[in-house]
Structure formats: structure tokens, C-alpha cells
């Protein structure tokens, strides 16, 4: 059964499904969050999250089984990947065997157009994250090399952004006609939910449904950083 916080159900009365689409656990080399501790934190803080996606760096974790935690805490826990390209970092949702065979997830200079194309062919969904960030963000590379084809969605709200980065992301996304989603990019427990994505009037229980919802495009990025950190 999905849990809903009272105080935030008041704040976001019409929200149906809120997911943090960008988190890291101890499976990532720079991650220090245990997945169960994320769940405990969400429950204790009564965060209005219905679930989260583990986007481990340069890998896809096909071993861990989080279903017992989903049942225990009433959360949807999904797995994806954050890969590194010549245009910055990209989240890939719906990783499957076809995609794992299409390119080397550990390569830190993957051609972004190949990642976007192969993801599409494999039925997955690829979207650049923290695009407003220097060096590892899409739009920094646009400044140097110009825009590329195949991008339709970017992470416009990222919990790790410094002032100005998300504003740049949102403005550029609007100018270029890209849709925007949100994720905390949490590497430690207490930052989960800083940013997330609202899927109104939808139910998402697994990664296939998430990919479908992302492709359908009925979602928006939300920030809860001020509420959580205060």
C-alpha cells in the first residue's frame, strides 16, 4: 500500500505519483547511501515520495533485489544507470540486455548520439542530467559544439545544483522545446527527494511503466529542497 504524507498531501493535493528519478547508493563509487536507509528516511521524514530510481554511475545493477524493501516500506524502487558521454552525463531508464550489449557502460566518453539512438532502439529512455552544469552538463557542450539531434527530455531540476545551474537548464530546455524532469542526485541518504518528478493521474509500479510514462511526456519537475532542508 502506498503511503502519503499528510502535510505534503495538503501542499500538493492533486499529485498522483512522485518519483525521485536520480539517486545513487553504495553501489556507485562515490555513493554512501544504503538503500534501506533511504527507505527509513523517507518514512521517518514523511517525504511525499512514492518511490525512487537508483541510477548508479557507469553500470547497471542487475543483481540487487529490492522487492522486500518495496513491500516493507510501500515504495517503488527501480534501477537505471547514469552513463558518461562526450556531451555530459545521461540517465538511461529501462536498461535491458540489448542495451547492455550495445555499448560499454564503463566508457566515460560514449558518443551521446549513439547512446540516445541505441536506447531508443532497445525500448529504453535516455535523458541528459544536470545539463546546466559545467563540464558534465549537456548545455556546456552545446556552447562549444552546438546542439545535437535526439534529445527531447533533460533533468531541469537537480538536487545537487548550485545557484544558477537549474535556471540555465530550465531556460535552455524551454528554448529548445525539451521536456524537464527532476531528481535529487543524492549520494547520501538525507538528500533524497530534494528534487523529484510528478506524474499526475498515473500509477508507476515498475521500470517499464516508468519508461512508458516518460515517453508519454505527462510529467513535471518539482523541487522540495527548501521544505526538506528546513
Amino acid at each position: 500500500m502506498k503511503r502519503r504524507s499528510l502535510y505534503l498531501s495538503f501542499t500538493f493535493a492533486d499529485i498522483r505519483m512522485i518519483l525521485d528519478l536520480h539517486t545513487h547508493s553504495v553501489k556507485s563509487d562515490d555513493g554512501r547511501a544504503k538503500v534501506e536507509n533511504y527507505c527509513k528516511w523517507i518514512q521517518k521524514k514523511e517525504l511525499p515520495l512514492d518511490g525512487f530510481v537508483l541510477t548508479e554511475h557507469r553500470q547497471f545493477d542487475d543483481q540487487s533485489d529490492y522487492r522486500p524493501l518495496e513491500d516493507a516500506y510501500g515504495l517503488t524502487i527501480m534501477k537505471a544507470s547514469e552513463v558518461e558521454t562526450d556531451y555530459g552525463h545521461v540517465l538511461v531508464f529501462g536498461v535491458n540486455d540489448d542495451l547492455l550489449n550495445a555499448f560499454d557502460f564503463t566508457n566515460v566518453r560514449l558518443p551521446i548520439e549513439m547512446v540516445l539512438e541505441e536506447s531508443s532502439k532497445a525500448g529504453a529512455f535516455a535523458a541528459p542530467c544536470h545539463p546546466g552544469r559545467k563540464r558534465v552538463g549537456l548545455f556546456a557542450h552545446y556552447e562549444e559544439k552546438g546542439p545535437i539531434q535526439g534529445v527531447h527530455t533533460v533533468e531541469t531540476l537537480n538536487g545537487g545544483s548550485i545557484p544558477g545551474e537549474d535556471e540555465l537548464s530550465s531556460n535552455m530546455a524551454e528554448t529548445l522545446g525539451y521536456r524537464g524532469f527532476g531528481g535529487s542526485d543524492s549520494h547520501v541518504v538525507s538528500r533524497i527527494g530534494y528534487c523529484a518528478t510528478n506524474f499526475p493521474n498515473q500509477r508507476i509500479d515498475d521500470i517499464g511503466q516508468l519508461v512508458g510514462a516518460l515517453k508519454a511526456g505527462d510529467f513535471s519537475a518539482i523541487s522540495m529542497k527548501e521544505q526538506i532542508s528546513s
Binding site: R32, K40, W41, K44, I162, P163, H187
Partner: protein, 138 residues
């Protein structure tokens, strides 16, 4: 009997009081001398700039020490069993940095708590993240 924060007084979600430590050039220089950790990038803004930094930077071992001091200030009498830090970006000497912490797990059999730790740079970047396992008083 030692006075301090007891395990029973702590729960998941508790925040440690924020700290703004002194990372002035004189303070960092004093630390480096005490730790025999003498490198120009910590002690001299111009030398650090020649190495590609915006200015002199706070040594990682000092950051970790400052986080440990924050923990002990929050929980006098506690024992830090482990502290693990990830350095994500430079913290500049003579800037204002802010340290935060939060309780993310508790184990009532051992009186151990797990903490999230972070140091935020003046421009809002997270310079250091980490975790610690701390034994509190019964």
C-alpha cells in the same frame, strides 16, 4: 559518570547543529603546521592559483577533522567508530563553509548511529560528503 548525548535521545532524521568552521589562512596554516602537512596549495593563494585552483584550498584531512569535531560537539562522550568522506570539490581557504549532519540509522543493540555528513562551499557547491558511524552513550 560521563555526561553527553545518550542513544535514547536520538532518532533517525535528527539534524546535527550546523557549524561554520574557521578556515581562514591563519587557521589552515596552523593546522598544516601541527599536522606536518605543508604544501603551498594550502598555505598560499598565489601558489594554489598557479596549480589551477581558484585560491588556497582546505586540506582534506582538515575537513575530516572538522567534521569529527562537529560530531563530538553534538555528542560529547561519543566515540567515532568510522568516518568516510568523499571529496567532490575544493573548499577555499578564507571562504565561509558550512558543515551539516543528520542521523540516518540507529541500532539499539549496539547504541550505534549512522550519520550523513556534508560540507557546503560558499557558492552552494557540496565540497565534501560522507558518513560516520558513532557510538553514543547508553
Amino acid at each position: 559518570m560521563t555526561e553527553g548525548l545518550k542513544f535514547s535521545e536520538v532518532e533517525i532524521g535528527d539534524d546535527l547543529p550546523e557549524e561554520v568552521p574557521d578556515v581562514s589562512l591563519s587557521s589552515v596554516t596552523a593546522f598544516c603546521k601541527a599536522a606536518s602537512h605543508i604544501f603551498d596549495r594550502f598555505l598560499d593563494h598565489e601558489a594554489a592559483q598557479k596549480e589551477g585552483f581558484p585560491g588556497a584550498i582546505v586540506p582534506g584531512i582538515m575537513s575530516q577533522g572538522l567534521l569529527a569535531a562537529m560530531i563530538h560537539k553534538w555528542a560529547p562522550g561519543s566515540s567515532i567508530r568510522s568516518i568516510d568522506t568523499v571529496f567532490r570539490g575544493s573548499l577555499l581557504v578564507d571562504s565561509q563553509i558550512t558543515m551539516t549532519g543528520a542521523v540516518t540509522d540507529t541500532d539499539d543493540e549496539s547504541n550505534l548511529v549512522e550519520l550523513d555528513l556534508a560540507i557546503i562551499a560558499e557558492d552552494g557547491r557540496t565540497g565534501v560528503i560522507g558518513t560516520a558511524v558513532v557510538q553514543l552513550l547508553e
